[in-house]
């Protein structure tokens, strides 16, 4: 019997080492400069003209019948429901035609490849150059490369209408700054780099996680401890709250090599360099509630000085954070997002109530929250079936998701939104 116990113990130890990792994603190297240096950047009006729902005339076997095209800053993104893919392309006008290059990635798998697209003068390029019309009929034509395919595949997209929207507005909230490490985005979860890239993934907002260091500095990190899932090497072990910011800066790099950011650094960068309009601080350390609220004040002052509109929500996910917030001398200085019950939402005068999606549509409560002037965000929605159901039958003001690409594709191409 002793032998069997030893055997089983050894087997269990071996099991963990046998479990597979996800296939690494190797992103293509794209020569943006050649195209950018030979084209003129699109104006804001031209970008708006291009935004819209496109039908796939060629390429639908991979990307489905309809996709959403949306410019954000200097890059154009395409979001697809089928294959859950995003395209990141850059380029501009050449007289009365346009040329773009970039890459695509299916975010629920390892597939990626290069993209080359253009607009001919006869297929909407002339109207785009002249700034005429609403872009309907404009045709993007080009090729993509795919893993396992020896030659590029043809892609043809034609604009049929404007992107769907919602009267009350809607936030596509990227979880952990835009996605998890397991989503293999090439940027670590909760890194500044990912937050700045989140809008290209389809996000209009970011949820980020906040812990405190031993010297009371709020930092952006998801787990209470350092593990190989989140950091390179296991140089620091145990709780993040055991280490000072200096120690963390000296020994910790996120899985893709980025520096673990302080909350203030992250928020300032998002204000200065992104189009993200809402940040949800998922606060996990009640010791640093006052510091977080003070940072909120400084960042909002900075945003105001830059005439940047942004909403930074102080998240209350637990009763510990709730208690610390209610006792804080800075209570009431930041808009609050409360995940707790309705009584706590009202007591904290939260601007947003954020229930789990597994609690269902809760239409009556959502309507009551709207009546009280509060928004309702639901988390964490990753399943296309539930996203569609909640979009069409619910009345939420935003979803937090690990796949802003999927949510953006579903949201912008839907016909029957409230």
């Amino acid at each position: 019997m002793k032998n069997i116990t030893l055997v089983l113990a050894a087997l269990v130890l071996c099991l963990n080492g046998c479990v597979s990792e996800l296939t690494p994603v190797v992103y293509p190297t794209v020569d943006y400069e050649t195209v950018i240096s030979t084209t003129t950047p699109l104006t804001l009006e031209q970008r708006a003209q291009m935004n819209g729902i496109y039908i796939m005339q060629e390429g639908r076997s991979t990307f489905g019948d309809t996709v959403a095209v949306r410019w954000d800053g200097e890059a154009m993104s395409i979001y697809t429901v089928k294959s859950v893919s995003f395209f990141y392309v850059r380029g501009g006008m050449r007289t009365d035609s346009a040329r773009f290059v970039g890459y695509w990635r299916a975010v629920q798998g390892p597939e990626t490849g290069e993209v080359s697209l253009g607009i001919l003068a006869s297929e909407g390029g002339k109207e785009l150059a002249e700034g005429k019309g609403n872009g309907v009929g404009l045709t993007l034509r080009g090729t993509i490369t795919s893993p396992g395919s020896s030659r590029p595949n043809t892609l043809v997209l034609k604009k049929i209408k404007a992107l769907a929207n919602r009267t009350r507005g809607f936030e596509i909230i990227g979880h952990r700054g835009g996605g998890r490490n397991s989503d293999r985005l090439g940027k670590s979860e909760n890194s500044i780099e990912l937050m700045l890239f989140a809008s290209q993934l389809g996000a209009t907002a970011c949820e980020i996680d906040v812990y405190g260091t031993s010297d009371g500095v709020p930092v952006v990190f998801h787990d209470p401890t350092f593990t190989p899932r989140t950091v390179q090497g296991a140089y620091l072990l145990g709780d993040i709250s055991n280490y000072s910011l200096r120690q963390i800066r000296g020994f910790v790099r996120l899985v893709n090599g980025e520096q673990l950011p302080t909350l203030e650094e992250a928020l300032m960068e998002v204000v200065d360099k992104s189009t993200i309009r809402t940040i949800w601080l998922d606060n996990k350390d009640s010791r640093v509630v006052d510091e977080i609220l003070a940072i909120h004040q400084r960042v909002m002052d900075h945003a105001a000085s830059k005439k940047r509109t942004i909403r930074i929500l102080f998240g209350i996910p637990t009763t510990e954070i709730y208690d610390a917030y209610m006792k804080s001398p800075l209570k009431g200085t930041a808009p609050v997002l409360c995940e707790l019950d309705q009584a706590s939402v009202r007591a904290s005068n939260a601007a947003v109530w954020a229930p789990r999606f597994t609690d269902g549509l809760q239409s009556d409560v959502v309507a009551q929250m709207h009546k009280e002037g509060r928004d309702v965000y639901c988390w964490t929605m990753d399943d296309p079936g539930f996203i569609l159901r909640f979009l069409t039958e619910g009345d939420f003001d935003g979803f937090c998701t690990n796949y802003p690409t999927l949510l953006a594709a579903l949201f912008y191409t839907r016909k029957d939104l409230k």
């Binding site: 032998n3 050894a10 046998c18 479990v19």
Partner: protein
């Protein structure tokens, strides 16, 4: 690392054979559930034990063991056919599987083909925040082969998992989340031998290569990647 782990598992699996096997000059085909050797009509075999896997880390983020009470049975029918089945539960997940196998032997070797249907019921409404119920149906075509030694039998079974229906309910919402898709496959390697008096033991490993592990249905997996994860099992045939 994975290869090393697998080799270790196989080596360790072989270890008890030397210490527990009772020497025998005759090959006993009848007490085993995983062997492909045909059972006589009316003969039955029942095994009760447990299975354990560590769920793929991309799904769970932390190493998470998923144990399960595991029952297997097999009943011989005429024409070298048998019905076989499995039932298991760990409260969150309860499954029942039943199928039909036709097999034949030549000497100590046996080969069989079969197909089974599985129903799985998942319920974690009692876990704060999850509030989810699932029903899943899947079909498993399989081929099996075994070799009988005097003291033990080694069997292999390769199955493909074809999910015909997966329906999830959260609160007031029911959504069909997957249907008619090949979810992956598995290779089960089992060693069965006498253990104590009239009790026999089966032990082995199922090497799963699956997109949506049944043990982790409540994690709302969205990865299209198929992931490899072994599942260990041990059962006692009473």
């Amino acid at each position: 690392m994975r290869a090393l782990g697998l080799v270790t598992i196989i080596i360790v699996l072989c270890t008890p054979l030397r210490t527990l096997a009772q020497p025998s000059d005759t090959v006993n085909f009848e007490h085993y559930v995983f062997t492909a050797h045909p059972l006589d009509g009316g003969d039955g075999v029942f095994s009760m034990g447990a299975a354990l896997t560590i769920l793929p880390q991309p799904l769970t983020e932390y190493p998470t063991p998923a144990p399960m009470v595991d029952l297997h049975w097999r009943l011989g029918l005429p024409l070298q056919t048998s019905i076989y089945g499995r039932a298991g539960s760990n409260i969150a997940t309860t499954l029942a599987n039943m199928g039909l196998m036709w097999s034949f032997s030549f000497g100590r070797a046996s080969v069989g083909v079969g197909v089974s249907e599985m129903y799985m019921y998942g319920n974690i409404t009692y876990v704060d925040g999850f509030n989810t119920v699932q029903h899943r149906w899947a079909t498993y075509p399989m081929v099996a082969a075994s070799w009988s030694f005097p003291a033990f039998t080694v069997s292999g079974r390769f199955e493909v998992e074809y999910m015909t229906s997966q329906v999830r309910t959260i609160a007031d919402q029911t959504v069909t989340t997957a249907q008619d898709q090949v979810n992956g496959g598995s290779l089960t390697l089992a060693i069965e031998q006498p253990f104590w008096k009239n009790t026999h033991v089966s032990m082995g490993v199922t090497l799963n290569y699956s997109r949506n592990p049944y043990q982790a249905w409540f994690l709302f997996n969205t990865f299209r990647d198929k992931m490899f994860y072994p599942e260990l099992f041990v059962g006692f045939m009473l």
